[in-house]
């Protein structure tokens, strides 16, 4: 899993009271930055990662040696232009790329496993807020992220209404749906059903629930794509064979693709982190924090919002993104919204979707000119 090298870490000394009631202190937040902070410190963008992301947004991830998860969107001259902006991203607490999580040791030097406190999206953003103090930034230029990253965006601007000038939630929701909780539960069950999980204590026994985690990833991966996208990419094409083999090997390319996705995921992700982070997503319900009135979550901010959804995203569909737009309009907030045409499903925000990338770039650059 993570190697200590190449990971920048901020130790948060201040105690943080978690939603579950427990308090953590002296805990690490692993982060990475791109571009440079200007002298006025007004060009910083805080990017929040999704379920399986990490702080290595763009360029080569030094731990996995693969491209960063948002390489299409972030970099010099890209939509989030690192020649112009200072991009900060940190690993969420509960994660496995250096921030405080279940693979860390408790004060008695025992690996937490499932004794790590259950964390929420609110806990994640409260922990990450410490990065603003660390860099001496009074107000961010923007906060953005897709999927669970979008949930953190919404929670952040609720918790810290005057700490960002612009707010860009992408392909997200203000309240995790029953369908999404169901898919997350499927993933968790796959992990905990693996005999190597050992109630979460697998690290001490030098095994890991790789098979369960791979199945969790395979199931989730399907939800990130669209039926049309899958059909066009794979159809019924066979995997390196002329005909069906009448067995249970991967006859079809889609089977082989999913198996591969599962296997590479296991090499870079911790099974217990998967349990913790999916739980945090399931618990997310911003409207519930305000007796069902989502508008209340945004009433103290005068930030400029820009919300983006994708036509083929059935995991965080347009309507759920539009509910956020409606809540903002009902209090007269400054909000723009666009639904991007794409066959690439929920994953569209991570991929080369030109209409999405140009909308993101134009919104940021025009807002920056106006500041």
């Amino acid at each position: 899993m993570n190697t200590e090298k190449n990971i920048k870490t901020l130790i948060v000394k201040k105690p943080l009271k978690l939603d579950c009631g427990k308090t953590i202190k002296n805990f690490p937040i692993a982060y990475e930055t791109y571009g440079s902070l200007n002298s006025k410190k007004d060009n910083a963008i805080l990017v929040f990662h999704a379920l399986t992301g990490d702080q290595f947004v763009t360029g080569i991830n030094p731990v996995t040696n693969k491209e960063g998860w948002w390489s299409y969107a972030v970099g010099p001259d890209k939509a989030i232009d690192t020649n112009k902006y200072f991009v900060i991203c940190s690993n969420v607490i509960g994660g496995c790329m250096g921030s405080y999580g279940p693979s860390h040791k408790d004060p008695d030097q025992k690996i937490f496993g499932t004794n790590f406190p259950v964390i929420t999206i609110n806990d994640m953003v409260n922990a990450q807020y410490n990065l603003l103090d660390h860099f001496g930034i009074d107000k961010l230029f923007s906060i953005t992220g897709g999927s669970m990253g979008g949930m953190q965006v919404l929670q952040f601007i609720n918790n810290f209404p005057d700490k960002s000038k612009t707010v860009i939630p992408i392909a997200t929701t203000s309240s995790h749906s029953a369908q999404n909780i169901a898919f997350n539960e499927l993933g968790r069950q796959a992990i905990t059903a693996d005999s190597n999980w050992k109630e979460g204590n697998y690290t001490s026994s030098d095994t890991n629930p790789g098979k369960g985690l791979a199945v969790a990833r395979m199931a989730a991966h399907i939800t990130y794509l669209s039926k049309k996208g899958l059909q066009e990419k794979f159809g019924r094409k066979l995997q390196e064979r002329e005909d069906l083999k009448f067995g249970f090997d991967a006859d079809f390319q889609i089977e082989s693709y999913l198996r591969y996705q599962g296997s590479v995921f296991v090499d870079r992700f911790d099974a217990n982190s998967y349990l913790y982070i999916t739980r945090a997503m399931d618990y997310f319900d911003l409207a519930k924090q305000f007796n069902g009135n989502l508008s209340e979550a945004f009433k103290n901010t005068n930030a400029k919002f820009f919300i983006i959804s994708f036509t083929s995203d059935w995991l965080y569909p347009t309507q759920e993104n539009k509910d956020i737009v409606i809540a903002l309009n009902s209090i007269g907030a400054d909000v723009g919204f666009v639904e991007i045409e794409s066959d690439k499903g929920h994953d569209s925000f991570l991929l080369d979707v030109p209409d999405f990338l140009s909308a993101l770039k134009n919104f940021l650059d025009k807002s920056y000119e106006e500041k």
Binding site: G332, G336, F337, V338, D355, A359, N362, K366, S367
Partner: protein
């Protein structure tokens, strides 16, 4: 910028909050923002046009006026503008009611089906009129509910909607419409612009 937009812009005072319904590529919005310091929002159904607005740095929401106006609170804008789109809605009456609910005032412009060129076209050619403001064929026009300046004038009166200003536009000439000259304006204007309030 087209003359219609200049007339609309002249109706709006500086520093107001305005919603442009069916804002297209944002030409009017940009003008109002840059020249009158207007706090401007747009609602537009076409994805391409929404992208053009974003590229101009305008706040625009992709959406359909018939469904999406209801999310805005009562009287949350000083002015709501609807340019040459009323006739394209399934239910123009409902949209008009929504404009007047959301806006303290509304500015509505309509292509005039009573314009003499339109009448002549149908009378002498016997085919559906095609003019500068009505450029489409009968089979591909988005217009479902064409009306004349006279129709619209009578319609808003019957709904107890207050008309502050009604302007007839013919190319570069604009003039005021009133009860007495209604018949003449209805013949010689290709566009009607109405500032109304409920």
């Amino acid at each position: 910028m087209k003359n219609e937009f200049q007339v609309i812009a002249d109706l709006i005072e500086k520093d107001k909050k305005v919603l442009d319904v069916g804002c297209a590529d944002g030409t009017l919005m940009k003008f109002l923002k840059d020249n009158k310091n207007i706090n401007i929002r747009g609602l537009e159904i076409s994805k391409e046009k929404v992208q053009e607005c974003i590229a101009k740095g305008l706040t625009v929401i992709e959406g359909n006026a018939e469904k999406d106006l209801k999310q805005f609170p009562d009287k949350s804008f000083d002015y709501v503008v609807l340019s040459q789109t009323l006739q394209a809605f399934l239910n123009p009456e409902l949209v008009l009611d929504e404009l007047l609910r959301v806006g303290k005032k509304a500015i509505v412009t309509i292509p005039n089906f009573g314009y003499w060129k339109v009448r002549f076209h149908l009378l002498f050619k016997g085919t559906m009129p095609i003019t500068k403001t009505l450029p489409d064929e009968w089979y591909n026009t988005p217009n479902l509910h064409m009306c004349t300046i006279k129709d619209f004038f009578h319609f808003v009166k019957s709904k107890d909607i207050k008309i502050f200003k009604s302007i007839a536009l013919n190319n570069l000439n604009s003039s005021t419409i009133n009860e007495r000259n209604l018949g003449v304006k209805n013949l010689f204007a290709d566009l009607g612009i109405f500032l109304i309030e409920k």
